[in-house]
Amino acid sequence: MKTPANPFRPIPATLEAVIPETDGIKSFIIRPEIPFDFICGQFAELTLPGVGEAPFAMASPSTKPDTLKFTIQKAGYMTEKLHALTPGELLGVRGPYGNGFAIENYFGKKLLLVIGGVGFPPAMALLHTAIANKDKLKSIHMCYGARSPGDIVYKDAIAELRENIQLDITVDNADDTWEGPVGVVTTLLKKDEIDPHTTIAVVIGPPIMMKFATLRLLELDFKPKDIVLSMERKMYCGIGQCRHCMIDHYFICKDGPVFTYDQLQESPDIWE
């Protein structure tokens, strides 16, 4: 009989590289002691010994369990300490947690990603999987909204992504360098370009953006079951026990983070 593993025990992992993305965002490449199998959309609890741990979604392809990439915005105590790290540091990782994206449910359809701000990292993991399964999807289209041109992450990957997918980017506030569209991400969702009956829409971003993206998709006649949401709430344990991430009777960490809108539409506080 298999002894139940201790779900709180992290796997030691070495920080291999730190890549600056924007002013407040860096990517961290870590190598866990043992391969870390996951599916796109899942997350892990990253330990910084002596400081604590926090949940982050993997941004790297699920086909590469030996090294993981996390793209992290400096926002609080833990992320501030992470941003100060240099390669070689010993970290810990446990997981993966959450359900992730069931890519096979999208086969035969057009895949539309509606992404805001730091929703790009988990979207990147999904894009890796989607591009690998390109022949099973009718098309891949991503609409990405950033606050300003300086806030756009993965700038170096954009040209390569555009070889495989349609990628539209808008910014809330343009600067002199910006030649693309200006406005919130929902302005990219155009009626004559999107067929709600053959498309699965995946929405990832801050709560307010997810709310308005969902409302716009419903306006375009998407069915609630065809709107996929990767929800964010303060999570802690990752295993559905500590209760921080509850929405209605769901645990974002265990029952999600990926939900379809029809699962959540009756819950009054999903956009809080």
Partner: protein
């Protein structure tokens, strides 16, 4: 069922102390709690119910999950002796089983990963729980509302205080093994059964009117925007005393104590009543208002847990009523949502 003279109680406890870590009600009033005892003299056998619930025996207020030093992670050794709990009330015994579901014993649905908590499981799986019937429920008790009762049988052993002796019945194999250790016990018969019936009737007479909670699960959800939540929140001071005293509340936080690369990871009780509970690093707080948090607490107790496990997360122990510094009474809250005349 056996009968053991109270004069033999200290022998009974002494017999267990060698092989078990024995926990029993100790202390008085607001200091009353379940604690480790070395002898029967330390046990407060006259308590109605302890203010601190026995949940802390299996889920301590702070617990070291592991220590680490560079890459070396050490999980603390499990306790060397199994636990024996004397004098748990039926409401608390069932509370432990409700939390047990969350800590991995039950699946919310067939594909629920249901992670098992090894710390909780190691302590509970070997523990022997003796439930003591409540001859005199407190004025704060409402266990009959939640399907519990002062004489409900729960745990591994069930005992009734019949004045000069205890009647003890084993309910599980673990309980039976303990009962077999008792010397000088006499078998209980029809006289004792009649005695139990009479005590049960008397105990139940102490409980107030019965309120049917079957509609509550849906009513609370339907009344999401009801001003009742603001009324409750206006009175509540968000101190979290209710959650800490509650035998079924099990929210926790995890923190690290230590220096770079060396330290320990600790699990601590947390409560959904605290504003920081849901506050995110960005500063955003999904439950930023007191009314949001009060609603979460009651909906979790009476609706959400029900959605996941088919029963409510309250066993009517009444501790939250006893400890609340502003006299918020969960019974009044429930009545208000059931439209039974009650002002919060």
């Amino acid at each position: 069922m056996i009968k053991i003279e109270k004069s033999k109680f200290s022998v009974f406890i002494q017999n267990l102390v060698g092989d078990f870590t024995v926990f029993a009600p100790v202390g008085e009033g607001r200091q009353s709690a379940f604690d480790e005892v070395a002898d029967a003299e330390s046990v407060n056998t006259a308590l109605q119910n302890t203010v601190q619930s026995p949940k802390s025996i299996f889920f301590p207020q702070t617990e070291v999950l592991f220590t680490y030093n560079d890459g070396d992670v050490q999980i603390p050794e499990a306790a060397d002796k199994p636990f024996f709990l004397w004098g748990v009330r039926a409401c608390d015994a069932r509370s432990i089983m409700l939390v047990d579901k969350v800590f991995g014993r039950a699946k919310q649905r067939p594909d629920d990963p249901a992670f098992e908590d090894p710390y909780w499981k190691a302590k509970l799986d070997t523990a022997v729980i003796l439930t003591l019937a409540c001859n005199e429920p407190a004025s704060t008790c409402f266990c009959h509302w939640t399907g519990d009762g002062p004489f409900e049988q729960a745990g591994d052993l069930w005992a009734v205080d019949v004045g000069s002796s205890y009647l003890i019945e084993s309910l599980t194999e673990k309980g039976k093994a303990v009962l077999e250790r008792i010397e000088n016990a006499s078998p209980a018969g029809k006289t004792e059964a009649a005695e139990i019936d009479s005590l049960r009737t008397q105990a139940e007479s102490y409980l107030g009117d019965l309120v049917d909670l079957s509609e509550l699960k849906d009513r609370m959800k339907q009344m999401w925007d009801d001003p009742a939540w603001d009324d409750i929140a206006a009175k509540c001071v968000n101190c979290g005393a209710c959650a800490y005293a509650c035998p079924t509340c099990h929210c926790f936080d995890v923190q690290d104590e230590g220096k770079k690369g060396k330290g320990k990871r600790i699990r601590l009780w947390d409560a959904c009543m605290f504003p920081l509970f849901t506050k995110e690093a960005s500063g955003h707080n999904p439950r930023g208002q007191a009314a949001d948090r009060v609603r979460q607490r009651f909906l979790h107790k009476f609706s959400y847990y029900w959605d996941n496990y088919g029963e409510s997360l309250c066993t009517g122990c009444g501790r939250c009523i006893y400890v609340c510094p502003v006299n918020l009474d969960i019974r009044t809250v429930v009545k208000r949502f059931l439209d039974i005349d009650a002002a919060v």
